[in-house]
């Protein structure tokens, strides 16, 4: 397996399975009863979710005074987790939309799963701005609607841009994902033997008939959606970064934030995809569809985006010095040497130092090594948001208002709960929907396209 011929593209699907075998391979987990392992995994994630729910219940009842947020650190775990989870989502859209436009056929095997991950991550992320407002039940005020106060939202505020960006992102990701699922629902509908499932699949498939006249519009629509999702995914984390960059806080007020945030988002998202797919391909016997080549390519993207993030870290320091603004310079020196220096160095080592191991082909293709590195990347990216938010806020302009941020148990409970929610949704997804796009994988198997069109992918 280690000797790979790089002069020619490795086959996207290994072993040239027959088309019917792909159905079988992907749909088997949906037909079988969940195993004991599944229940164990689900009970763990549900426990985490319960911890989060209890912490959230406390927060909703007693207010956000339960958190560690204070003056001057007005943003804490709430916004850190929000940015972290939105970032995780970005890999899915990148794989499904950008790699689609770039004609990367290897994306077909992992696109569906990554898209699902996007949706669940954005759902988890969307929770945080809501609970961060304190009174979740009044969140309707975030949207411009005619109300008795005759007030409108402030459209010049990045926080409102955020509402639009995240809700659009969730909607478009979901629609994109569902459009991809329609033909698979039809395939499942035609092969299932259970009447209940057949009704569900029939409703979800909308009566799809695999008609070539439909495929033509379908492919057009898929390309259009990919074309829109691509700038959308870039815009979302750009706008998230505006939450910081449009303010005048030293450490936030920088123009490098949008590209730096987008690179970081893709970086952390791919790390998450790699980590989860390692288990998915093993548990569901999808080694032929999600191959080691897929992982190698994703690890390369992690390496590239990691270098971008590292460049941004360095450039922030350079600009702080070059600007000649004392407040800027102080914030950055304080980041590296101040009371939260430990978090800064966790961030740098996890995001910049360890991913350099991916320069070695052996490590890129080693499952345990990539798992550890991807885990470190996610830890590092969480700390990146911690560093950006907490270290910039805790040293205010006036030394008299300096403070420290100490998260409470409730904060940690909600953080654990967010992982619980994400992984619970993911686990349920693996048993209810095809984790690999059946029709897309069939289209890229060797010999699936007419000889005149020799498997060449075009729209």
């Amino acid at each position: 397996m280690n000797a790979v011929d790089y002069t020619k593209e490795p086959p996207v699907v290994e072993g040239r399975p027959a088309l019917a075998d792909i159905d079988e391979m992907v749909a088997r987990p949906l037909d079988e009863r969940p195993t004991k392992k599944f229940y164990i995994a689900l009970s763990i994630t549900l426990t985490m979710l319960l911890i989060g729910a209890v912490s959230l219940g406390y927060t909703l009842f007693y207010g956000i005074g339960m958190w560690g947020n204070n003056q001057p650190v007005g943003w804490g775990f709430d916004i850190i987790n929000f940015v972290f989870w939105v970032g995780i989502g970005h890999a899915g859209t990148l794989i499904s939309a950008i790699l689609f436009l770039l004609r990367q056929k290897w994306r077909t095997g992992i696109a569906r799963f990554a898209e699902a991950m996007t949706i669940f991550a954005v759902m988890t992320a969307g929770l945080f701005p809501l609970i961060h407002t304190g009174r979740v039940w009044l969140a309707g005020y975030l949207f411009p609607y005619p109300n008795q106060h005759h007030l409108w939202v402030n459209f010049t505020s990045p926080l409102v841009w955020d509402v639009f960006a995240v809700s659009t992102y969730l909607t478009v990701s979901f629609v994109f994902w569902y459009v991809g699922l329609i033909p698979d629902f039809a395939t499942l509908r035609d092969r299932t033997k259970s009447t209940v499932k057949k009704v569900i699949y029939s409703v979800c498939s909308l009566g799809w008939r695999h008609s070539a006249r439909h495929w033509q519009h379908y492919e057009k629509a898929y390309m259009l959606l990919a074309g829109f999702a691509t700038p959308l995914v870039l815009s979302v984390h750009t706008i998230v970064s505006f939450d910081f960059a449009v303010s005048i806080i030293p450490g936030w007020h920088t123009t490098i934030f949008p590209p730096y945030f987008v690179a970081g988002a893709i970086f952390s998202g791919f790390a998450m995809v790699v980590k989860i797919l390692i288990f998915v391909r093993k548990v569901f016997d999808l080694e032929d569809i999600i191959t080691i080549n897929h992982f190698e390519k994703m690890n390369k993207i992690i390496l590239v985006t990691g270098l971008m993030v590292g460049y941004a870290y360095a450039m922030e320091f350079f600009i702080a010095w070059y600007s000649g603004v004392n407040a800027e310079l102080f914030v950055f020196i304080n980041r590296a040497l101040g009371p939260y220096a430990w978090s800064y160095w966790i961030m740098v080592s996890c995001n910049v130092v360890f991913p350099q191991l991916f320069w070695f082909k052996k490590i890129r293709r080693s499952i345990p090594a990539m798992f550890v590195i991807a885990l470190l990347v996610n830890v590092g990216m969480w700390f990146e948001r911690f560093v950006i938010i907490v270290t910039s806020l805790h040293r205010d302009f006036l030394p008299s208002s300096w403070g420290m941020y100490i998260p409470t148990l409730t904060d940690f409970g909600i953080l654990i709960g967010s992982f619980g929610l994400f992984f619970t949704l993911l686990l349920l997804f693996t048993k209810t929907l095809p984790v690999v796009s059946i029709s897309e994988v069939k289209a890229v198997v060797d010999g699936s396209q007419p000889s005149r069109h020799g498997g060449e992918t075009h729209e």
């Binding site: 009566g207 008609s211 439909h214 519009h217 505006f242």
Partner: protein, 384 residues
Amino acid sequence: MSKILYGYTALFDSPDGIMAAAQKTADDGFTKFDVHTPYPVHGMDKAMKVKPSKLGFVTLFFGLLGGALAMLFMYWTMAVDYPMVIGGKPLFPLPAFGPVTFEVIVLAATLSTVAAMIALFFYLPQNNHPLHDTDYMKNVSSDKYGLCIEAGDPLFDEKKVKTFLDAAGGKNITPIYNPDPVKYPLLQPRFLSVLLVVALSVSGLTYFTLNKLMYMPPFDWMSEQEKLTPQRTYRLFEDGYGMRMPVQGTVARGFMPYPYRDQPVLEEEGLANPLLATEEVLTLGKNKYNTFCSPCHGDHGDGDSRLRGYFPNPPSLHTPRAREWSDGQIYHVLTVGQNVMASYEPYTTREERWAIVHYIRALQRAKNASDADIQLVRSDNNAR
């Protein structure tokens, strides 16, 4: 009951086979036929001679429409309906409207594209299509490639189509029949009871949420706060009132109290009406007079009040004594009261009282008009 034929289907094993068959079908002049493949086969649209998809126009139209509406809406809310200067930006800050405009373009374009594709281009959802639940559909769903020539085609002839499909290399050539129409009667007890349960639960839940839940803790903690509000009792104060009166002699900022309050009759001569008798002031005065003065003094100041008999009758405002009063004296009466007439200071502003004075002057002049006044009114009417 004889079944109505929908069409003939044939299965093919390879993408090359279906490609050739589709090409041949289109070349032979068939128009109502379809190819069914488990995944999009490249080049099939050309072989079938179908026109390029027009879906992009939907996307373009709704994308532009969404963006334009978003921009217009933001302009209207922030510059027209509730204009507010934020951060020194103009009322229409184009760059700051960029992100939301972009997001709405994407949202409108994608949702309209998908909705149009499913509903207008595919006529979906359609789960009662004749092809559903056939072996043919089960095969093309999985690993076969199918061709279906519909009976609605002008060239359709059962025998000819069969031989044509056979010649094209098709296998499993089978006829497909239209399904029997199914009726769903509306007035079924089961359906109606489901409807009732849904209606009751939705309305009940809405009622509970809006009228009960929002007044329970913690949802009412916005209105029920642990702070002193004007209507609350507070035991720390002797009188128990939460609301405190201002200290004696407190004067509002920028406001001089009326200095002649203690005089029963105004002795000061210098108190002149600060307002000009413009039409606007007279209208204000008329409104206030009709509201506050006319119940006793009558609509025209004759003392013919609507309250006659229930209340001591006030004198006419047209007596020589009243007409000789200065503006200041009338204003003084309005402000501090006279005899049984109470002070109208709490109910009217200073300007309103001066406007009433102007209106009383107008009434007095009208009731006792000189010839010159009548001439003036006549010439004024003629000029109009």
